[in-house]
Amino acid sequence: MKEQTAKTQDVVVATSSKIMPAVVALLFGAFLIVGVGFAHSDTIHNAAHDSRHSFAFPCH
């Protein structure tokens, strides 16, 4: 029984240690995309203008 609990804990640790970095990367990637492609700041819009059009992000 103890052995089984230990195994389950190992699996949980292995899974969460694998999922956490992926989720952080996913969120950070989305943050960068929103910043470059979607932020409403005029300065960011003007700096990234051609990139936004070329990547077909909705642009005003």
Binding site: A22, V23, A30, L32, A47
Partner: protein, 242 residues
């Protein structure tokens, strides 16, 4: 794992963003500059007319209200090398952002990913991030007539999320019910419909706008294949080291 994901995404995103900047310089950028000639020529008079006819109609890059016209214009890079530099930086940040999402998916998939299978992942990214939204919101040149920005951006996110989850159901779940659910989910944003402008016809000739839409999609396909291959290759290489 953190190091493997971030090292792969930073390297692949940097090289992919840099590579696509060279491609853009000869494909989409000349079309944007050409379209801006028409946009600048007629934006003032066209905006005045559209303001009177329909206050909800927005001319891409036109000032939406009189107050905005009086406001001091925000900084923008000067034409020439400065504009190219900022476009390249924006492309690199976009590349790293998309690479982080792609590599996170590699990690969550539990499968073996190398350069070759990375290209398939890249094609999935192209389908989700470029192809599916393009059906409702075709890539637009400066000066195109568009609906309001926020509803279009919201629809874009809805379409990308629904397509991504739908594709996951088709690929990773077994059974007819998942296939049906996946297809319905992928079709849903298009049944809802993207926000469209109240009228068509902008300052830019339709031939130029059509050419740009094609150029944008072709360069997006090149970008995603390149990013997929680079990400897969580095993912495999950094995996054997650790």
């Amino acid at each position: 794992m953190f190091r493997r994901i971030f090292a792969t995404a930073l390297l692949a995103g940097f090289l992919g963003g840099l590579g696509i900047s060279v491609v853009h310089e000869f494909t989409t950028t000349p079309l944007i500059l050409h379209a801006e000639q028409f946009e600048n020529k007629s934006s003032a008079s066209d905006q005045k007319r559209s303001d009177i006819r329909n206050p909800l109609l927005i001319l891409a890059h036109g000032t939406a209200s009189g107050a905005a016209k009086d406001a001091e214009e925000a900084w923008g890079p000067a034409n020439g090398w400065e504009r190219t530099l900022f476009t390249t930086i924006a492309n690199i940040i976009t590349g790293v952002g998309f690479a982080l999402i792609l590599v996170a998916c590699f990690s969550l998939s539990n499968g073996t990913v190398n350069g070759r299978t990375g290209v398939i992942w890249g094609m999935a990214g192209f389908g989700v991030m470029s192809l599916a939204p393009a059906l409702g919101l075709p890539p637009e040149v400066p000066g195109a007539l568009t609906a309001e920005l926020v509803p279009r951006q919201s629809w874009w996110f809805l379409c990308v999320a629904a397509t991504a989850v739908g594709l996951w159901m088709l690929v990773y779940r077994k059974g007819v019910i998942w296939v049906v659910a996946g297809i319905v989910l992928m079709a849903m944003p298009h049944i809802v419909g993207a926000p469209q402008p109240a009228r068509t016809g902008g300052a830019v000739p339709p031939e130029l706008a059509g050419h740009f839409a094609a150029a944008s999609l072709v360069t997006a396909a090149i970008f995603w294949s390149l990013l997929g291959w680079l990400s897969g290759t580095f993912w495999q290489r950094f995996g054997t080291r650790t």
